[in-house]
Symmetry: C3
Subunit: 306 residues, 3 copies
């Protein structure tokens, strides 16, 4: 069986910011089915005190990994208007899907010259209905291409890591693409209950002039936020001593769940570690398979050594 | 006696962001006078541990209602310059009022071509003095028109609701018009002391192409923030089953105390439910009386059923 | 010995946002050397639960003073590109310094017509290396001029105040120049451990049309944030009764550690009190000596009377 079948399933799930419950339910179901084969059986935290978030605790955790479950998308406004959820790439004729009380919706995005967004569909869609990209999952020798590699690949990385993880916390968060909001609650949980002070952000970054396809997982030294240098240096040292391919990223923009950890009232260090993609936030996000493998290897190393 | 006399009094109170104490004192006084006639006598929380906020607890609360006490306004800078508090509408000759150590101030706003703001008054006004719109309260068969319907109408709605409320928390917050800052403290109070996980935002929204005067209270499905869909759906279901007129709002901009609840470290769901107005943040904010009635009816329903 | 020698040493320390440990270590060392001569020996809090922050507690504290340790600077990106840390002033040929694994770096800033930033140096500098202004400390009869008066002068003010302080908390914070992030943790510490509800921001502001060199310390009535007026009024009353020169500042922009105190879940009042400078965030920040003296005198007064 194709090893990326799980990733494909994840990419197809409808879970824009605010509607992560379908993803949470899939994960709960998947974990219940496969955890018998995992090295350590995790303690599972979910329910109303965590809203739609999900936390797995393995052994004695020293480090937490954050992977956000939500994706960018669109909300139906009035008439045939759409407004964005997060910052999706927009281009006329992108295929969108969703569901309202009249049934399933498969429509097309239209963008006019003032950059206003509309849908094209045989009937009106109910106000407030959310739409996401229709998934066209493509695999070649070298690449995986699909909508929502950001951040279904970050989730996939966590699920693969979970197979052998002995000590650590895996956190599946909400709302990341649209301003955040679940990390403050999760930071409180991880610090007050487990006194965890280290976090890794399992998320996808951008191919740029400094970070290329196939050259390894990106370790971000900074983005819009500047994390504590001493923690970044510790991670880079561990990477240097290993033979895992990695690339150092330095950006002035971009953000992640790390931002809210940085601003939390807890002394939590954080670092973004993730594969790079191009065609960001479009239906055609492309990631090199070697970078997916390097990402998993790096997480295995860091969760053991940090 | 005119039923909107209380609303008029509220609209006249000088309480720009940072100076809510006059409003708090009025509310404490009003509540002490009328609560004998209320169905349930609330427990009242105020004092330095809540700064200028005020909280009423009725029975066993499951849901909290937030109504902000502050308004937009202006601060005197140097010479005859003004800078905004929040985002007031600006137009030359709007009448402003305030007070400095030399006495009461009744002056006029002037706006130049670079959109810089000045006051016109017979003497200099002391640095840092705050000014608010001079209240011209107008009532017709159908409409109420005044400055500061946003959010004195939200407060009025809470005071009317309080007459019959059996279980619930009413929260009067500060700073909402100027970036917030009191809700983190209030969220901590409501969750840690009462374990409340549901919040309604009693505030005023905009008349738009999708939300019209006289068509009922607006239930906002999203604004700049995207709340958890499952909670919004629960509210819409209750509204559908009722005969109370309501309108669904879907916007990409605008914000409220809900934003800070969303970002708090507590699992608090929130939804904005309020009457629409036009002439937003001007001395001429207009709200249809039917929408004021629908707002109160909807809160009565939701506080019972949620 | 020149009384500003300590200030010069502080200005020379390399501590851009994210790398405050060198400053923290200097302060710990300095305090251990001089505290025998202080009126009250403070309790010192540091370590991993405060990351790189540092807190001194004198007697029974009612008020906390915040002074941020970090400065603006630059991060090396790819090739010879630089990106800013915080909002440094940029001009070609400003001298920068730093260190990477190959040794010390003394290079020049270059700014092109698109306002992109580069370094000019004999070799490549490692990705993620931070650079700060090379310190040229200048003293005249009236002025001190140097990079990083913001906020090494705020720290200097605290260290001078510490010599005679009987009751109070001094907080050295991180990340202030680049979006903050340490104050939420510090607010939690000061309120939960000491129930402190008053804060003064010991930081440097701008010379403007309303705030001039040599006219005294600035008491800020507002900036981008509007603090609670009643606390500001209390401070202004104390200043009025004293003979210490001061100036009232009213701005619509600018921000400080006060912003995060304002948004914290604790009922903490705050006010920015600091000397004004010109040439903000450049290597040539200039402050009048009389304003430095007034700043210290005002803090001595406020820490006693508040």
């Amino acid at each position: 069986m194709n090893q990326y079948r799980l990733l494909k399933t994840l990419c197809e799930i409808h879970a824009p910011s605010g509607e992560e419950s379908e993803m949470k339910n899939f994960l709960l179901d998947y974990i219940s089915k496969v955890q018998a084969s995992w090295k350590v059986k995790p303690q599972i935290f979910d329910g109303e005190d965590l809203q739609d978030c999900l936390v797995l605790v393995f052994g004695k955790p020293r480090t937490a990994i954050f992977a956000h479950m939500d994706s960018v998308g669109f909300t139906v406004r009035y008439q045939n208007q759409l407004i964005p959820i997060g910052g999706p790439d927009v281009e006329s004729n992108y295929k969108l899907k969703g569901k309202d009380s009249l049934g399933f919706v498969n429509c097309k995005l239209q963008v006019n010259q003032e950059n206003q967004l509309f849908y094209e569909f045989g009937r009106g869609i109910e106000r407030g209905t959310s739409l996401t990209f229709d998934c066209d999952f493509r695999e070649t020798e070298e690449f995986i291409q699909s909508c929502y590699m950001d951040n279904r690949l970050g989730i996939y990385n966590c699920l693969k890591l979970a197979e052998t993880l002995e000590n650590g916390m895996i956190v599946f968060s909400c709302y990341e693409e649209h301003g955040g909001g679940s990390v403050p609650m999760l930071a409180k949980f991880m610090y007050e209950k487990y006194h965890i002070r280290q976090a890794l952000i399992s998320d996808i970054t951008w191919v740029t002039e400094g970070v290329e396809h196939g050259k390894g997982v990106a370790i971000s030294m900074r983005d819009r936020n500047v994390p504590r240098k001493s923690f970044i240096n510790k991670i880079i040292s561990l990477a240097q001593e290993s033979s895992i391919p990695y690339q150092l990223e330095v950006e002035s923009g971009g953000s992640s769940d790390g931002r809210e950890l940085h601003q939390s009232p807890y002394p939590i260090d954080w670092c973004f570690v993730g594969a790079p993609e191009d065609n960001v936030h479009s239906p055609n996000e492309a990631v090199h398979k070697k970078d997916i493998e390097a990402m998993l290897s790096m997480y295995q190393l860091l969760m053991e050594k940090l």
